[in-house]
């Protein structure tokens, strides 16, 4: 095979891996949107918050140390050597559940029956709050996150792909980050688990009932509020997984919350209400973005990644306003 073609394959593969990461974030959006009709802008910040908490627990940081030091003139940084990774992940999950509970109690409860735009705004407010809160609690510096996943390129793959190239051509193998591969595997497991959960458990069925019709679900005795807590916890869990993956990839820092913006075109491409849509949309956007960067980028001066996804989504929406798998929009007077 010619090196050009192999390069193309490499770009596509990397795009697929990135796409899986986008899909991971988009999944959290879809879960909440389906169950409560809330377009949760705070999903990205939730991922950041989860990752921050995980790093903090793992390294034994003192929460609010900055604030305490500034107020009392003390100099505290750590409360101990930190927790083992598994324990830290479980504790972070507990924190995310508490967060879901608090959000329902403090915010959502009061906003039932408001217009979608108001709920959307409330989640942006929430995103700001969480961002400030996370930084205040754990500090705003960039932190490395290591949960024991392998990182770096795979030599095996490089050797194998080098042997594919035409003899004599200058080709040194594909670079695929092993972290991306494990992220993809974890995402696939997560999606299968979520599907099984929503198909075969009583809670999962209740979730789907709420997603279908709030009032009908209420009338058969499903508690809307506990469903909301569950949904926000699940998307907190998805946020945690996304936070771990992105955090391990590029360090835990503020820009982690911006992946929410990357997930938006994925969402409108796949449709707000469809879990498979989030995955397929993520893959399309991931591949499209990488290909555009590789083949259109050099022509126009690079950084096409920033807007390409949106333009694809926009062009796509013109032909299919409800996204790939979204429910058909029927309007009545």
């Amino acid at each position: 095979m010619s090196p050009d073609f192999l390069n193309f394959i490499e770009t596509v593969l990397n795009g697929l891996m990135t796409g899986v990461m986008y899909a991971l974030v988009a999944l959290g959006f879809v879960l909440i949107f389906k169950a409560s009709g809330i377009f949760n802008f705070a999903q990205g910040v939730m991922a950041l918050f989860a990752a921050l908490t995980l790093v903090g627990l793992q390294t034994g940081q003192m929460p609010f140390s900055h604030l305490i030091n500034a107020t009392f003139g003390t100099d505290i940084h750590h409360w101990g050597p930190g927790l083992p990774t598994i324990l830290a992940i479980l504790m972070t999950m507990a924190v995310m559940i508490v967060l879901a509970f608090t959000i329902e109690k403090v915010v959502l409860k009061h906003l039932v029956n408001q217009e979608p735009i108001i709920l959307f705004m409330a989640t942006i407010g929430l995103a700001y709050f969480l961002e400030g809160f996370g930084d205040l609690m754990w500090g705003a510096d960039v932190k490395p996150l290591d949960v024991g996943l392998p990182t770096g390129g795979s030599f095996w793959l490089e050797d194998v792909t080098t042997s594919w190239a035409t003899a004599g051509s200058e080709y040194y193998g594909m670079y695929i980050d092993t972290l991306d591969v494990s992220a993809a595997i974890i995402a696939i497991i997560l999606v299968i688990a979520l599907t099984i959960f929503s198909q075969y458990t009583a809670t999962g069925r209740a979730l789907r009932a709420v997603a279908d019709d709030h009032q009908a679900a209420l009338s058969v005795g499903i508690s809307l509020r506990s469903i909301w807590v569950i949904v926000w916890s699940i998307s907190g869990f998805v946020a945690l997984v996304a936070g771990i993956m992105w955090g391990a990839k590029s360090g835990v820092q503020f820009s982690l919350s911006l992946i929410a913006l990357k997930a938006l075109p994925v969402l409108i491409l796949g449709g707000f209400t469809s879990i498979p849509g989030a995955i397929v949309g993520g893959l399309i956007i991931g591949v499209g973005e990488k290909l555009a960067e590789a083949y259109i980028g050099p022509l126009v001066g690079g950084a096409v990644e920033n807007w390409f996804a949106y333009m694809v989504a926009l062009a796509f929406l013109l032909f299919r306003p409800q996204g790939l798998y979204g429910e058909k929009i029927i309007e009545r007077i």
């Binding site: 906003l111 942006i124 709050f129 409108i268 920033n306 949106y310 333009m311 926009l314």
Partner: protein, 358 residues
């Protein structure tokens, strides 16, 4: 005693339909305007101009623009930052291409350019609605900022990629550049905002404004009774972008003096203006001002209290500030989803009967 309806009778339709139908309200308004135009210019100093008054006016202008689109026509836009960038770059190109041109004309022309760009990006709104449209407008945001970064023509090939406002004058008084006196920049912004707020108020209660509101309330029904969605939506995008473009031009030329697209016109600016509109009140001219005032003055106040009063480090204060902003947004949405303007309306209802409510 400030607000009295008693003994105030309107005897003509014109008197009944005016913006401030009650006499004491008119007095209040004109007193405030006289104060803003005649007294404040003599008191204003550099600090007040650069960190309170000019930001307030610029954001009010942007909020007015977004309120026309989102509040009156119901089209949610997250592209405000991008459109402000269009206004700023149009302003820069005009300032450097025609050094003799009056600043008023430059600013209004940059608004016109933005209106045209806004119309282009408004076209998808005919087909896409709601959140899908909000996300689609993000395309404008990212694409516009990217293009201003990448095409050297827009920043006249300057080495840093920044645009810097040269000194330009109105009637011989500098309003841009480092040596512009505070009172002149303030009056320049105030005049523009006053004029365009007046225009916005009268647009929104005229035929055009009513067709926007019909589209907002239910677009299919509006179409059936004869409102053309194409005309209404595109005109809303055009007018709104015009305001946002003027705000962007002032933001760059009068307030900042120099700008770099990614930093100055990022997505956070889009959210900021949207917050102003929501907190102030959707579909209210007064609300745009209240929202802008709330979100520009509160950070200044918080910063003064936390850094100056409690001598905390600035990064800590910044964290607490965004936390509080977020918390307050949620709080306001819960307590009064219709914004500060609605609180003012309620207060007026109360004042009418005070001190003897039945």
């Amino acid at each position: 005693m400030l607000y009295r309806e008693t003994g105030d009778f309107s005897s003509t339709y014109a008197a009944d339909q005016q913006t401030f139908p009650i006499r004491s309200e008119r007095y209040l308004f004109w007193t405030a305007m006289a104060f803003a135009f005649l007294v404040v210019p003599f008191l204003v100093n550099d600090y007040w101009e650069k960190s309170v008054l000019v930001p307030l006016l610029v954001w009010s202008m942007a909020a007015l623009g977004l309120n026309i689109l989102t509040g009156y026509c119901g089209q949610v836009s997250l592209g405000t930052g991008g459109f402000m960038a269009v206004g700023a770059y149009a302003c820069y190109k005009l300032m450097t291409a025609f050094p003799e041109m009056n600043m008023f004309i430059v600013v209004v022309l940059s608004g016109g350019v933005t209106a045209f760009v806004g119309m282009l990006f408004g076209l998808p709104s005919l087909r896409i609605k709601g959140f899908y449209l909000a996300v689609a407008t993000l395309a404008a945001q990212f694409f516009l900022v990217w293009i201003f970064n990448k095409v050297p023509w827009f920043y006249n090939n300057s080495a840093s990629g920044q645009i810097t406002a040269p000194e330009r004058t109105i009637f011989g008084v500098a309003v841009t550049g480092a040596s512009a006196p505070p009172w002149a920049t303030y009056l320049f912004c105030l005049t523009l905002v006053f004029v365009f707020a007046w225009v916005a108020r009268n647009l929104t209660r005229g035929q055009l404004g009513r067709s926007w509101m019909a589209i907002r309330d239910m677009d299919i029904a509006a179409e059936i009774i004869g409102v053309q969605p194409l005309k209404a939506k595109i005109s809303a995008f055009a007018v709104s972008s015009f305001y946002i473009g003027v705000a962007g031009a002032l933001y760059f030329s009068v307030w900042l003096g120099a700008a770099e697209p990614t930093e100055a016109f990022g997505i956070d600016k889009s959210f900021l203006v949207l917050f102003m509109v929501i907190i102030g009140g959707l579909g209210s001219i007064l609300g745009s001002f209240l929202g802008a005032a709330f979100l520009t003055l509160m950070p200044v106040l918080l910063k003064n209290v936390m850094v100056g009063g409690m001598s905390w480090p600035t990064d800590l204060a910044a964290h607490i500030e965004i936390m509080l902003v977020g918390g307050l947004i949620v709080f306001f949405l819960i307590v009064e989803p219709h914004g500060l303007a609605q609180l003012w309306r309620l207060l007026k209802e109360k004042l009418r009967l005070w001190p003897f409510p039945y």
